[in-house]
């Protein structure tokens, strides 16, 4: 299934986890639990040592994953080992994409990702201005390139991004770094209005923590919701309490159901 198909039937729930957090095996079980819980696509973080767009929750997940031995090659093995049907998006930073392979720009990384079954990328430190080489490699191998629209993105920048984006557009609900918040920002409706005429589905992320948040975001007009830190928190707590993998996986699955249910309720409210 392609990324845009994942959004085509009903509002999509797109969870994020850092691959390999806190271990390769546990992380496989966690991602599969999210799929059982109703995920329509999944963002998998490939950890980079300098994650400048992440808040503390995901920074710590990245450290746990790196300490457990995650590398780009292990990441691709991880993707190949996953037993899920939904499309997978690789979220990482440009240096890892750029360094992979033999100095041929981003192409070897994209080629390997395509072979492993990745459907697209989100690269938070790659604005449209620098994205030409990666966009071309994605076109060559049939992968999507998702861009993030920030509350501050306007005018020409939106046009440039619209030219390059495919799969879905990631609408950043508020300024700052990733992280769960109790309040959902009011920038969402404004941001969605600015890109109302874009053809790609609009998924909103940054700060979504509960089914109620999900409901509000979808009733504001989003085609999907992206949830990271609220799920990574569950992984972190399970790891800190030394709980077994199945218990943590059940909790993730339940949280996924709550969020997906919230999104569906939000969609009914719109109708």
């Amino acid at each position: 299934m392609s990324l845009s198909e994942a959004f085509s039937r009903e509002p999509a729930f797109v969870p994020y986890l850092a691959a390999g957090d806190p271990s390769f095996e546990a992380s496989l079980a966690y991602v599969e639990a999210l799929a059982r819980g109703g995920a329509d696509a999944i963002e998998l973080g490939l950890p980079f040592s300098e994650p400048i767009a992440e808040g503390p929750t995901i920074q710590e997940a990245i450290v746990r994953s790196l300490e457990a031995g995650m590398t780009p090659e292990r990441f691709f093995e991880f993707v190949e080992a996953l037993d899920v049907e939904v499309p997978l998006v690789c979220m990482t930073y440009y240096n890892l994409v750029y360094q992979y392979g033999d100095g041929d720009g981003p192409r070897p990384f994209v080629q390997r990702a395509a072979a492993a079954g990745i459907a697209g990328f989100v690269i938070p430190d790659l604005p449209a201005e620098e994205a030409g080489p990666l966009r071309r490699a994605c076109d060559e191998f049939g992968l999507d390139l998702v861009f993030i629209v920030a509350p501050t993105t306007r005018g020409e920048r939106l046009e440039r991004m619209q030219e390059y984006v495919s799969g879905y557009v990631y609408v950043q609900a508020r300024l700052g770094t990733t992280g769960a918040r109790d309040e959902v920002s009011d920038h969402t409706e404004e941001s969605l209005a600015r890109i109302a005429d874009w053809e790609v589905p609009k998924a909103v992320g940054f700060g979504i923590k509960t089914g109620d948040h999900a409901q509000r975001i979808v009733s504001a007009g989003a085609d999907g919701i992206i949830v990271g830190s609220a799920l990574v928190d569950i992984v972190a707590q399970g790891h800190a309490a030394d709980e077994d993998t199945a218990t943590v996986a059940d909790r993730l699955e339940a949280k996924a159901r709550e969020l997906k249910e919230g999104a569906l309720t939000g969609a009914r409210a719109v109708q």
């Binding site: 430190d125 920030a150 993105t153």
Partner: protein
């Protein structure tokens, strides 16, 4: 090729949320700094003179000249207000933030020199200021923390990673992503996304503008060689800029640390020699030479000098090295420590440990640098005295003075 690049280096690799601020800054840089709109540069020059103490002197180093049989001249940036070249950039950027209508300043600091310069400039221009500093650096640079707090700046401890400059930059970028609408990020070196590498260089280019005129006036000709230490590269680019078109050899002296090798498993490079040993990559907003492992993860650098301790380097400097215009060289911790003591004893100038690397290279290569050598004294070394004392004792360096006096009066240890 667009103007935001230096050959294949440079660019703007930052989160989308920051891009509008980067575009606003690029516009302000073009208008105020490049075109002197609203008299910005006039005000900057007046303030860096009256508040900062420019021009700094060019001094003939008599003992070193005699020792090496060559004329050695010192560009005394250590005499700039605050004790280092850092004020040139900090004052320029805080003033620019005012012209842009921003009402809050944030900055990262490693050794604390950029943090103290920014705190001074912010106090001088009445701007609220917050400094991010790694917890390791807070521990090893306590005097600079006192100075920043005394000037009224908040100091925020960064506890991620090893708690040094690299983590402090990442954390300041995160703050900026939250507060970009009213806040200016005063980056401390010629690194980061365009326009920072060009803008920071322009503010520091006062160093070579003066030094070039001063050597011609005082000696009647240009130097054969110019030496500056290089971490991120701010004093290096400032010292080289106006000599780039001249027939003058330029040496960027990096910290060789304890070894030029890398420990891939531990993710540690026991040096900060990104120009000499780094590979092309993307770090903190620009494409440049970076100390990284085979997967592209950034390595922890190490130098006895906190101010050179950084895994990246300015993109323009990386480009000038690739072009062959600048020679990237390095000296190790021991050579830098010995040079620190030598300059202190022979010339009465206690240099920053960063600066001492340039003098370490002068000692090693004295015969090959020509008849007239200019060295930038990028900062003074008061802040380093405790570190130097400790590191010198560990290595049992014969050049160092003994500190028995403390034992005599206290009857105890140092």
């Amino acid at each position: 090729m667009s103007t935001n690049s230096f050959g294949e280096y440079g660019g703007q690799y930052v989160p989308e949320a920051l891009m509008p601020a980067i575009e606003e800054l690029t516009d302000a840089y073009e208008r105020y700094v490049r075109e002197n709109e609203a008299g910005f540069i006039d005000e900057f020059r007046q303030r860096i003179r009256d508040f900062g103490g420019r021009p700094t002197p060019l001094e003939r180093a008599e003992q070193l000249s005699q020792r090496y049989g060559t004329d050695v001249y010192l560009k005394r940036e250590d005499l700039l207000h605050g004790g280092a070249h850092k004020l040139n950039n900090a004052l320029g950027q805080v003033l620019l933030a005012k012209y842009m209508g921003k009402d809050r300043i944030i900055a990262e600091t490693g050794a604390g020199q950029h943090g103290t310069a920014t705190a001074m400039a912010a106090a001088h221009l009445d701007m609220p200021c917050e400094i991010y500093m790694g917890k390791t650096d807070i521990g090893r640079q306590r005097p600079n923390v006192f100075r920043m707090r005394t000037n009224g700046a908040e100091v925020n401890a960064v506890t991620t990673g090893r708690g040094t400059l690299k983590e402090a930059i990442s954390e300041t970028m995160r703050d900026w992503a939250r507060t970009v609408e009213n806040t200016h990020y005063v980056i401390g070196s010629v690194v980061g996304p365009h326009p920072f590498p060009s803008m920071v260089r322009d503010f520091h280019a006062l160093i070579s503008e003066e030094a070039r005129d001063q050597t011609r006036e005082q000696v009647g000709r240009l130097p054969d060689a110019v030496l500056a230490c290089a971490g991120g590269g701010s004093n290096t680019m400032g010292t080289f800029h106006h000599f780039l078109e001249d027939d003058v050899d330029l040496y960027a002296v990096e910290a060789g640390g304890s070894s030029l090798s890398v420990d891939e498993a531990a993710g540690v490079a026991p040096n900060s020699a990104s120009l000499s040993t780094g590979e092309e990559g993307v770090l903190h907003g620009s494409r440049t030479k970076v100390l990284q492992d085979s997967h592209g993860q950034i390595m922890e650098s190490h130098s006895v000098s906190a101010g050179l301790d950084y895994a990246g380097v300015g993109p323009e400097l990386a480009h000038l090295v690739d072009e062959g215009r600048v020679q990237a060289v390095n000296v190790d911790d021991v050579a830098a420590l010995e040079a620190f003591h030598r300059l202190s004893q022979l010339e009465g100038v206690i240099p920053a440990l960063e600066t001492a690397h340039a003098f370490g290279y002068l000692e090693q290569e004295q015969d090959t640098l020509g008849d007239l050598v200019l060295v930038n004294v990028s900062g003074r070394g008061d802040k380093d005295l405790e570190t130097v004392l400790e590191e010198t004792r560990e290595r049992d360096l014969s050049i160092a003075p003994d500190m028995e006096i403390f034992r005599e009066v206290a009857g105890g240890s140092l």
